[in-house]
């Protein structure tokens, strides 16, 4: 590096030392760069800053693979103020510096994706779900991204078409209450969950909770088919596909629908209806809180439970495959794994069309997958809470202000901003 460059970059660094410095320099530069590498003071709130800028009608850009997925925002007073309040580091850029960055983007495996419209976000959750039991809700709350809650009545009432992005967390779309029914019998939270689901099934005119959840799964698949963006974590990933593939086959235990599971259910599954998985073996025992061999870690089966390792994000070509590239933007490439009712996805059960975004090297499972369905896309991320690896029922809620640089939570927020990207023609 030549001395002049060093001095100029050093000075830029000094300006960007704190989120507040940029607040003071706001009038001097036309652009603000939100770096997402290790200098960033709050990676998670940086997504909220960008989202709120879009919400104010500002046009932003996502510099894929540049400084771990930096954002470019116009340097208006509102953005600078918001950054200072949120504690997000922004670096003022003049036009010359921006031209230099764009030149760099052209040359390497990088690209600039315009972000145009803030996505309208829905989180699928029962009305009384605690706000701290769902990683996405926590991430959205912490980052300051608006969302609305929907549940079965809204899904069945065609409300999904008013949203761009839908998130599912640890819901059980097989209608078996996460298969906790027998092991946690009598627990107040389970009693509530059962009663609430039964009441909703009755209200919607279904004979049982599994039948009603199957219809909800169908409506969600329809949402994606029509162009919606779906993001699911934990057991929602596996049970959504099981509910879709069951297609009339009884895969629910007798406590859920009054009759036992079809012993030949595995052979009767219609996997072409599912998003991501095929050829999975279903768990027949009603007392084992495991659904199938889709989950590689089998956390609730003492004999089959696998230890946690770490997962590695794949590199994609930013110019050829911008969608996958957006979804893996991160300042860490290897991230510690975390359990959930569904922690990971067995490679042998993945459909060939699935794009693997992250895997545990050498393990028979992957962590983070993506694919298309009709006109929409889906992304599945295994595990419950990236910052609570062993998550147990009753654990204290995760406080994201203690994890502002969480690489796992960044993956969730990549998904939230990804629908804001303006679609552009692929170059191949």
């Amino acid at each position: 590096m030549r001395r002049r460059e060093f001095v100029s970059q050093g000075c830029a660094g000094l300006v960007a030392v704190s989120p507040l410095a940029s607040w003071r320099f706001r009038s001097q530069a036309p652009w603000l760069l939100v770096p997402m590498d290790d200098v960033q003071t709050d990676h998670l709130k940086a997504y909220g800053l960008t989202y709120r800028a879009l919400k104010r009608g500002v046009k932003a850009e996502w510099f894929l693979n540049y400084r771990s997925g930096a954002f470019l925002l116009p340097s208006d007073a509102g953005t600078a103020r918001d950054a200072a309040l949120a504690g997000v580091l922004v670096e003022p850029l003049d036009d010359g510096q921006l031209v230099q960055i764009r030149g760099g983007l052209q040359g390497g495996n990088m690209d600039a994706v315009p972000l145009e419209k803030p996505p309208k976000v829905a989180v699928y959750a029962p009305p009384n779900a605690p706000p701290w039991d769902d990683a996405v809700t926590m991430a959205l709350n912490y980052a300051g991204i608006e969302f609305e809650k929907v549940w079965d009545a809204e899904v069945m009432g065609q409300k999904l078409k008013t949203y761009d992005w839908l998130h599912l967390h640890h819901e059980d779309f097989t209608g078996q209450y996460s298969k906790f029914f027998l092991n946690y019998a009598g627990s107040a939270w389970l009693v509530d969950m059962v009663e609430q689901n039964r009441a909703m099934a009755r209200t919607l005119g279904f004979p049982s909770v599994p039948a009603e959840k199957a219809a909800v799964a169908g409506a969600i698949a329809n949402f994606v088919d029509k162009g919606g963006f779906l993001f699911a974590m934990c057991t929602a990933t596996e049970t959504l596909d099981l509910a879709l593939a069951a297609a009339g086959t009884d895969i629910a235990a007798s406590y859920a629908d009054g009759d036992p599971m079809d012993p030949n259910a595995t052979a009767r599954m219609k996997w072409d209806r599912a998003f991501a998985f095929h050829n999975a073996q279903l768990e027949l025992s009603p007392t084992t809180p495991v659904y199938s061999d889709i989950d590689g870690h089998q956390v609730n089966s003492p004999e089959r439970r696998q230890p946690l390792g770490s997962y590695t994000l794949f590199n994609f070509s930013a110019k050829i495959d911008p969608v996958a590239t957006m979804l893996v933007q991160n300042h860490r490439q290897v991230i510690p794994d975390f359990y959930g009712l569904t922690t990971s996805f067995s490679r042998k059960t993945l459909k060939p069309s699935v794009t693997v975004l992250a895997e545990e090297t050498g393990a028979p499972w992957v962590k983070y997958i993506h694919g298309e369905h009709g006109q929409g896309t889906w992304t599945f991320f295994g595990g419950h809470d990236p910052e609570d690896p062993q998550h147990q029922i009753g654990d204290a809620p995760t406080d994201l202000s203690l994890h502002p640089h969480s690489p796992g939570y960044r993956l969730i927020l990549n998904n939230v901003l990804f629908p804001a990207a303006k679609k552009k023609e692929l170059k191949t």
Binding site: L20, R24, A84, N141, G144, D399
Partner: protein, 577 residues
Amino acid sequence: MPPLSRSCLWFVLLLIPARGWSQQTGITRAFDLERRGDYAAAAEAYRAMLTGKPGDVSALLGLERSLLPLNRSAEILPAVRAALKAAPSSSAVYGIALRAWAAADQPDSVRSVAERWARIAPTEEAPYREWGAAELGRQNRSAARAAYLRGRERLGRPDAMAAEMAQLSLAEADYATALREWLLAVGRLPGYRATAVSTLGQAPQSARPELLRLLRRESDIVARRIEAELRARWGDPLGGFGVLTTVLPADRVQAIAVLRGLLDQLRTLRTPGARRTEGMVLEAIAARSPEVQASRTRLEAAQAYTAAGDRAAARRMLGGLADNRATPRSVASDAATTLVGVLIDEGKLAEATGRLAELRPTLSADDYDAIRRRIAFGWMKQGNLERADSAIAADSSVEGLALSGHIHLYQGDIGRAVELFKEAGPYAGDRAEATHRTTLLALLQPLDRDSMPELGQALLQLEQGDTAEAAAGLERVAAGLPASHGGAELYLLAGRLSAASGKPVEAERLLRAAAVKEAPSTAPAAELALAELLISGRRGAEAVEILEHLILTYSRSALVPQARRKLDEARGAVPKT
């Protein structure tokens, strides 16, 4: 001896230990592999040993341990079968066999092995206990219970495996059954009492009356002791002591043992009620102890009573102890020191000074100075600042300087107080005291005045616990000072005091007076305190405005991260702490 025979003998002599050495090497190597975490290699090494000696319990246990972390526990089955053939009457092998079949999820085999073992050892609980444990390993509590009950029936003893049954009932939150089982278990083996009390002590509030009712139905001392100790754990230590006094054995040694059981429970609690009961139990122990031990125990009782604030009882215990010639010297000295402490706490400072003078020859210089400072502190709290000053006039320790700083501060001698606090430095007293002095220095340094009697008076009122008068006094002083020269700091302190004493309207007024741009070093703290006050008053939106102002206006303040955290809380972005 012919040469050949001699060499044969040497060969035989070498061969005998060599076999044992080889066996030893095998187990040592396997242990070493296991210790290093190479469980696969360790398992192979244990297996190799078992090939030659299938009934070797050490190797079999090692194999079991090594397979567990590999999640391959069921692979031990062939070795277990061979071991059962080789050692058909070994209890250890049967125990391993039970766990192996349980790990392989073969309940029929578990049952059959347990039955075989029970036939070999018809009077032992071990087969049933291990059977139950194996079922618990499979998370099958009902099968475990069935195993224990079968054992109870076969052995013909209703108290067999009572501890296991109790634990099982506790796991199912059936506290009443657990209690009944614990009573059986403790009746048979008194050592279980501590476990019984510790586990039953965790019963939820709602289950406790029923447990106490069940205990009261029992008449023996086992039930009374459990009841007394449970009452102590559940916040009724005095009730626990009352239960015990009615059943104390006449035998002194036995009675002391019973009382010490309760004392052990009480010593885990720090409430005044528990400390007072501790004093009563110690008093009861002292009454049953030989004289030399009794004086030490009475002293402990006095200390417990003092900690509980029961000064009359403390004095009763100490009465005569300090002056009694029969009391051992060390106890007499401690008793006198404790008595001085009681007198200080009672505010009888002149009497305490007199006792201290008498005690002086028996005390070390450090102990003497420490008590003298306590007396000076007592004078200071009473507002007798001159007496306090003279009491520590000759004390040049850092603690003495710190105390002297306080006395000068309350006299309104700000300049000298600042000097003394600086001289005392950060090492006088505990961390809280050092932090308190630093806070005072921060308050005093901007004042730019050497004498402020009204401020001293207000701070003395604060020391004496009169928060309302202190806040009013601080406000009066603040009104006469520029904000940048201590006025804002004093408003902030007054605001905090008002907030802490539940006067939000006054607190808000004072904190707003402190949050002015003329005092940029005080304003962030005042705004943060104001925001906290508003949040507690459910005025989140106003708090958000204040916090945003703090972050944007005082961007370099060290309080900005705390303000952001509060802002997140006010907006519901993070869980409340």
